[in-house]
């Protein structure tokens, strides 16, 4: 599976069970980057895709295990130990990096270094409500 995460400048993911921030331009970009792919996530993440008719999104609490090879799993609220548990099944990692620091009580501690990820592409783009978002693509 292709794993997608949204992280701030301190690797923050969420605060008080809520996403730190959102930008519809990220979803547009994801759908353009992975056309025709099946997207997976939890019920909360599904709401990000609700206004995009072309998106095929499957919500499941166990989405990290159910996503097949080639599927895109959007892990907004997944604790890092869950990511480590499926590490071997991750074919590609895409991080959308907010150019700010937001409050965080859920922080990504999944180690890109230990997992052997290598930053192969990095592109900045302007979002709908964020001046700068960076798309980081990692391969092993």
């Amino acid at each position: 599976m292709i794993l997608v995460m949204f992280l701030d400048m301190k690797n923050g993911m969420a605060f008080n069970h809520r996403r730190q921030t959102r930008d519809r331009a990220v979803i547009e970009r994801l759908l353009a980057k992975f056309p025709g792919k099946c997207f997976w996530g939890d019920e909360k993440t599904k709401t990000l895709f609700d206004n995009f008719d072309q998106a095929v999104f499957k919500a499941d609490p166990d989405f990290l295990n159910k996503a097949d090879a080639g599927d895109v799993a959007v892990a907004e609220f997944a604790p890092s130990d869950q990511l480590t548990a499926v590490d071997k099944r991750i074919e590609q990692l895409v991080i959308y990096r907010w150019d700010k620091v937001y409050p965080a009580d859920l922080v990504c501690t999944y180690s890109l270094v230990k997992a052997g990820w290598n930053l192969t592409e990095q592109q900045e783009f302007e979002g709908h409500s964020h001046e700068k978002i960076t798309e980081e693509v990692y391969h092993r």
Binding site: L7, M9, K10, N11, F15, N16, R18, Q20, T21, R22, D23, R24, I95, R97, D99, K100, V101, Y102, P103, A104, D105, V107, S111, L112, V113, K114, G116, W117, N118, L119, T120, Q122, H128, S129, H130, E136, Y138
Partner: protein
């Protein structure tokens, strides 16, 4: 011009309404409700049940232990149903007899925020209580004190409003308050919804410098689904001891001893305030590094050592410097990342 008049009118009306509400609820700087609350360390996720925050109740707030903020009351703010309006307004309390700020509250909407590209005006004409210019080399930005907006410029377009500026440390400003300001501002920009937002400076007795601020926020249209928080941010600076009664500071020796005299001048050129920029320390913000997986050194991408590195040993990541060090990597002596 029309917009400014409208804004003034809104403020006046909101002031009257909020004044009445505050009078009825007894809410003021010194009377944040005392309730059983859970205080949660946001990074380590340790949870402790304690009494919550009032000015006389600071003993119930855990001592600062490295996290810039702690959650109060399981992050549930103390707003009443009538607070949760979708009509934008701002209210700033009058200064008290010591010249200190009180509660600042707003319904933040796109219409209260500065226009795109609008820069913040000068705020150096305001000298909040306890203000001193104190410089330490180990403090990010050098100056230990910032003129801290209670409600950030990015939320309500306020500049040199003495009812909205307190003496706050760099850490309070950047690590404590700014992340919440960013979250609210970007939520409002993305959704067009409103956020009820309240910042209460917590002074102990007659001290001139606040011990911290309580920040509360709740998104209105989606009933807190997007934004919901109630936190206490510490007005502290690692490595610096603050005399909260006067505002005088001195290095405590844990970070270094380089400091300057504490002067009370307005410090127009060096003071900064809450802003939307990100200037957290290099150690714990993500940057691009190139690792040598063979000798466990990490480098800046443009380091000369990178061009001599064998591809099989090269790994590029966006990571926090502190995380690399904790994973056994050491900084290159040439590029000093």
């Amino acid at each position: 011009m029309k917009q400014q008049k409208l804004k003034r009118w809104r403020r006046l009306l909101a002031g009257v309404i909020l004044g009445a509400v505050l009078a009825l609820t007894g809410c003021s700087t010194s009377s944040v409700k005392s309730v059983k609350s859970k205080i949660k360390n946001p990074v380590t996720k340790k949870t402790t049940t304690v009494q919550a925050s009032t000015a006389s109740d600071l003993s119930q707030i855990p001592a600062y232990s490295g996290s810039a903020y702690v959650a109060l009351n399981d992050n549930k703010p103390n707003f009443t149903d009538s607070d949760l309006t979708t009509k934008s307004y701002e209210h700033y309390s009058d200064l008290d007899s010591l010249g200190r700020c009180g509660v600042a509250m707003a319904c933040v909407g796109k219409d209260t925020m500065p226009k795109s590209g609008e820069q913040r005006g000068s705020i150096s004409s305001v000298t909040p209580t306890g203000w001193h210019n104190a410089r330490y080399d180990f403090v990010d930005g050098k100056m230990v004190y910032n003129r801290c907006h209670l409600i950030a410029h990015q939320l309500t377009d306020e500049n040199a409003n003495e009812k909205n500026l307190i003496t706050g440390t760099r850490s309070l400003n950047i690590d404590g308050m700014l992340p919440f300001e960013n979250m609210v501002a970007d939520y409002v920009k993305e959704t067009g919804n409103h956020v009820i937002y309240r910042v209460t400076p917590i002074f102990q007795g007659s001290e001139l410098v606040a011990r911290g601020v309580q920040m509360e926020g709740e998104s209105v249209e989606d009933k807190g689904e997007g934004v919901l928080f109630n936190v206490y941010c510490y007005n502290v600076e690692p490595g610096v001891t603050i005399d909260y009664a006067t505002g005088y500071t001195q290095a405590d020796g844990t970070k270094g001893s380089t400091g300057s005299s504490n002067s009370t001048s307005s410090g127009s050129s060096t003071s900064t305030a809450s802003s939307s920029t990100n200037t957290s320390s290099q150690d714990d913000t993500v940057q691009t590094y190139v690792l040598n997986t063979n000798n466990h050194k990490f480098h800046k991408p443009d380091c000369t050592a990178v061009s001599h590195m064998a591809d099989k040993n090269k790994q590029t990541v966006n990571a926090k410097r502190s995380d690399l060090i904790s994973q056994g990597y050491t900084a290159c002596g040439i590029c000093k990342p």
